[in-house]
Symmetry: C2
DNA sequence: CCAAAAGTGTTCACGCTACACCCATGC
DNA sequence: GCATGGGTGTAGCGTGAACACTTTTGG
């Protein structure tokens, strides 16, 4: 073989899975089901196989525990410290996923000992997984300012208040309701539906849906999604 | 071994090396010196070794061709398409480096058949290296807006006009000299030296130096480097 | 009528833009 | 003195921040 004098490595994929529920941003963790560190809290992970790309491996691993396919998934970075896994040299590629937490398969979660944690509840994680989570959080904060990825965490129909709660959870600060509303509606990416959510107020709040076609049309004519000023 | 039933992979590191010279942003490429595709233009690359991290491998590879150490280096992403290297399955971790092109070892470059290219001269590259370059360019554009990494591409002393030329090269558009100057000087990150560069004008332009200590001091008291509005 | 959340109006300040203008110097 | 790049002044506009205000409806 051409490269036969070169070293080979185990390659893992570890997924940071974000969800949004009850106005809180959450993280899906599971109890590791193989040695070493079996039974400890960990990110969803697995090893890359010869016949798949890293993106494919990440999707496979995500589907295994949540039962979900076609999830927003993005590569974070490679983690390669020499002793990050004390059992053997493993290079891990971190990913993060955004899921609308209403849709995941509750049974699957139970079966794999998976559980949602808010950020102040996160337990000690194995290896360098805490670092991977921190990187994912940083990336989410950055990315959410310039790409309309927040919608991945919401149901397809939502009120402006829900949308604001989401961004408040991501940035961990309060946002002015009046200004937030104007900012988002001004972008003209949302369709207002002829339906009101009557569960959270007497007046009722209109439901909106993200319109991807509008987003792409605006983008190709120079518009840039930009929440830097919120 | 714990993971002995898992697949192993060759891991490569490929470096996109940026330089700035003659008011132009350039890329350092070299003629690949091993099979397959020997003699074709390629990014600087090499294989990860068992006893080093990816960052260490990237530094090693960079030093091998340029002779330079302590270079700004940042991981981009992993590239894992099944046939990206037709000879064998290789996962590559892309890096990009910023170097002050006055400092590199010219002999080394010659010895390795390396050459600087402006962006409109870039030849066809092997494998997916063109994609890696595109990713690096995108990242540089983004990163340069929120981190003071531009200075890595300049000599330690520079005029405001040189600095503007650099940002004009990165963003491929003209910037208003007056506003650019005010913006940067207003950040209070630059020390004005009591020296004028007399090579480019009759009046002469003061030389400035980036003051990292000031940057860190400001940063820790809430300042954020931000060139979004240029 | 009142409470509470939805949604609108308005003012202010700051920062970017555009461009006019002055400065220093070698020829 | 004039051409050239360095550098300053400034008016206008757009946008975010703050917060007062109106709307709707169930109790």
């Amino acid at each position: 073989m051409t490269y036969s004098n070169k070293d080979k490595f185990y390659l893992a994929v570890d997924c940071v899975i974000f969800g949004f529920d009850n106005d809180q941003l959450k993280l899906l963790l599971y109890k590791r089901d193989f040695e070493p560190e079996i039974g400890k809290w960990s990110l969803m992970g697995g090893f890359l196989k010869t016949n798949e790309t890293l993106d494919e491996a990440a999707s496979r691993i995500l589907a295994r525990i949540t039962g979900l396919r076609d999830i927003y998934l993005e590569q974070l970075s490679a983690f390669s410290e020499l002793n990050r896994d004390p059992a053997d040299r493993v290079i891990s590629i971190g990913y993060y996923a955004l899921i609308n937490s209403k849709e995941y398969s509750a049974e699957m979660l139970k079966q794999y000992g998976a559980k949602w944690f808010t950020f102040d509840e996160i337990p000690k994680l194995i290896f360098d997984h805490t670092e991977i989570v921190n990187r994912a959080m940083k990336r989410l904060k950055r990315k959410a300012k310039t790409q309309p990825i927040g919608f991945e965490l919401l149901p397809s129909q939502f009120t402006i208040t829900q949308l604001r709660n989401l961004y408040e959870a991501i940035y961990q600060r309060e946002l002015d309701p009046a200004n937030f509303r104007r900012k988002f509606i001004g972008m003209k990416l949302l369709d207002r539906l002829p339906i009101k959510d009557m569960n959270h107020s007497r007046k009722g709040a209109f439901l909106y849906a993200f319109n991807k076609n509008k987003y792409e049309a605006h983008t190709s004519s120079g518009f840039a999604f930009d929440l830097n000023g919120i």
